[in-house]
């Protein structure tokens, strides 16, 4: 009898608490999921004229990999050592800047990225611009990106 009572107090009551927490948390709004790989397409006409874009458009298919923890993002463009960006997602907009100020072949030393995410169409799409901070021409490079596959949670 004592064991049953103890069980009810020590196990039953917390169990009810867990149920309460699950109900309470249903209204919480976490940040939008952007984790996973995105196929980036640069606007060809602009890409040809931007002097500092070299390390971004060095390969034919440009993949943006996004690692997400809550609103915090780590973005990696094709070449891991040159173009890693750290950023945040806030509602439907995404901002990021390069992690290291590195000297590149084309002379650009840092990138900033700003994009908006459109989830309303069938494929998730991101459109925005890369900005090269120390580029003599101060250029902006517009892009669009399509999500390859929805990342399983933040785990991608």
């Amino acid at each position: 009898m004592k064991a049953v009572l103890l069980y009810l107090v020590l196990v039953g009551a917390p169990f009810a608490g867990i149920y309460g927490i699950v109900c309470l948390g249903q209204d919480l709004k976490p940040p939008m999921s952007v984790a996973g790989a995105w196929n980036v397409e640069l606007t060809p006409r602009t890409a040809d004229t931007v002097p500092c874009k070299g390390f971004i458009v060095s390969s034919k298919s440009l993949i943006l990999k996004v690692t997400q923890t809550g609103p915090h993002l780590v973005l990696t463009l094709n070449d891991q050592s040159a173009t890693r960006l750290s950023g945040e997602v806030n509602f439907e907009s995404l901002t990021a800047r390069s992690l290291e100020e590195t000297e590149t072949r084309q002379g650009a030393s840092s990138i900033q990225m700003q994009a908006n995410i459109d989830r309303h169409s069938r494929v998730e799409r991101m459109s925005g611009t890369f900005t090269f901070a120390n580029c003599p021409a101060g250029s902006e490079l517009p892009f669009t990106a399509i999500r390859q596959q929805k990342g399983p949670g933040g785990g991608s």
């Binding site: 064991a3 103890l6 069980y7 020590l10 196990v11 917390p14 169990f15 608490g17 867990i18 927490i21 699950v22 309470l24 948390g25 249903q26 919480l28 709004k29 976490p30 940040p31 939008m32 999921s33 952007v34 984790a35 690692t67 997400q68 923890t69 809550g70 609103p71 915090h72 780590v74 050592s81 929805k150 990342g151 399983p152 949670g153 933040g154 785990g155 991608s156």
Partner: protein
């Protein structure tokens, strides 16, 4: 370099690092497995990848990780079978009520605190592809795990197996094990069913049906393994082949049902005959290769997925500290209070709390499942891995301080009194 060459080099590096760290940790009175877990983390982006990214990329190119993952997963399936094999209902004999109440309280308390923490962490460390229910249930499960194998090893190393504390700890850990895996199976089923063609109720019915078949059908058939062992005096190659078949088929079916392959492997171990000589003969065949070769590979694979560098800035370390605090408070506090309420003296109750707070490699298994099914974000995964390491690391020093120090003092006092008595006579 061919895939096989890369894998062989990886195995060499992992084994050397794991044995070295294991040896160093044994030197500071820690279970060897703690050193091996740390070795895995050090080989990943948290240290090697950070200090020498070129070496790391050459040693563990991303294209080779599939092979490493496959080998370590097979090892893990065998390891989970061994965990199930070591589960013995006889551990509960005579203290079933105490063990069940204490153990369930030591699960539900950290589960409750983990869920409450989820309320705070969900908007900060998760995203909208994860449902709150899944996140909170997984956080609760991750907080409530006890590592039976590590706990058993600590008790053996400290000669505590035959003591009342050791017996209670083993009983509680056994109940913990079976309860935690059942909860995890439920959570995984819930998460996976949201992306599956099978409705949840059907997945649940099929899972229960399979568990029923294993517990009431296959368990009786598995007795033949013991009969064959008795007849021949050893486990033959044929018997071992059938046991492997059972493990793989069970793992395959649970994976198919939306549970996880590891749950099936654990279940296959649970339904094995529990005669001590048979269990130790089977352990003798499988344990060494699993512990020496496969587990370090799993730790290395876990390490490669763990990026402590993602935990950056005061805010992230604050979340990390909160996770440590909740994990320790929930498990240690819950087990201690429950044992005390069940009549254990404070010293024993506290020591039990310390022992059940050991999360060890079982937590690593659970966290990897969480990352696989997408419930955990990479930084949260890293934080929980650090929590698993910390809670395992503090177990032996705390146990020595709380329990064994007084035992040694008591023994010395008795010896002194006996000496004085002898002199008087």
């Amino acid at each position: 370099m061919s895939g096989l060459t890369t894998l062989l080099i990886q195995i060499v590096v992992v084994l050397v690092t794991a044995r070295t760290l294991g040896w160093i940790f044994r030197g500071i009175r820690q279970p060897q497995v703690v050193g091996e877990m740390v070795a895995g983390i050090l080989l990943g982006p948290s240290l090697l990848g950070w200090l020498a990214p070129g070496v790391s990329a050459a040693l563990f190119p991303s294209t080779s990780l599939g092979l490493l993952s496959g080998v370590s997963q097979i090892g893990l399936v065998v390891f989970m079978f061994l965990v199930g094999l070591e589960f013995n209902p006889r551990h509960l004999r005579g203290k079933r009520h105490t063990a069940i109440v204490t153990s369930h309280a030591s699960i539900i308390a950290p589960f409750l605190l983990g869920s409450a923490l989820a309320l705070y962490l969900y908007p900060r460390l998760s995203d909208d592809s994860v449902k709150f229910t899944h996140f909170t249930l997984f956080m609760g499960t991750a907080m409530s795990i006890t590592a039976f194998p590590v706990l058993a090893r600590i008790l053996r190393e400290r000669n505590l197996v035959g003591t009342p504390l050791g017996a209670l700890a083993i009983s509680c850990a056994a109940v913990d094990d079976i309860s935690a895996w059942s909860i995890l199976a439920g959570v995984v089923l819930l998460v996976r069913s949201s992306n599956s063609v099978l409705p949840l109720w059907l997945a649940l019915v099929l899972a229960l049906l399979f568990i029923g078949i294993m517990l009431f059908g296959v368990r009786h058939l598995a007795r033949r393994f013991e009969i064959s062992y008795r007849k021949r005096g050893k486990i033959t190659q044929d018997t071992l082949a059938f046991i492997f078949l059972l493990i793989m088929v069970s793992a395959w079916i649970t994976e198919l049902l939306g549970l996880h392959a590891l749950i099936g492997a654990f279940l296959a171990g649970v339904v094995m005959p529990k005669a001590e000589d048979f269990v130790s003969a089977l352990l003798g065949k499988l344990e060494y290769i699993c512990v020496v070769l496969f587990l370090p590979l799993f730790f290395a694979f876990t390490g490669l997925r763990t990026s402590v560098g993602l935990v950056q800035g005061g805010e992230m370390w604050f979340y990390c500290a909160l996770i440590f605090a909740v994990a320790i408070l929930g498990k240690f506090g819950g087990a201690t209070l429950a044992a005390r309420a069940n009549g254990s003296p404070w010293r024993e109750a506290t020591a039990l709390g310390v022992l059940l707070n050991t999360r060890g490699l079982v937590e690593l298994v659970v966290l990897n499942i969480g990352l696989d099914i997408g419930v955990l974000s990479p930084a949260l995964f890293a934080m929980l891995i650090l929590m698993a390491l910390l809670t395992t690391f503090i177990t032996t020093p705390l146990l020595d301080w709380i329990y064994l120090r007084e035992t040694v003092q008591l023994r010395n006092r008795i010896r002194t009194l006996e000496g004085a008595e002898a002199l008087r006579e």
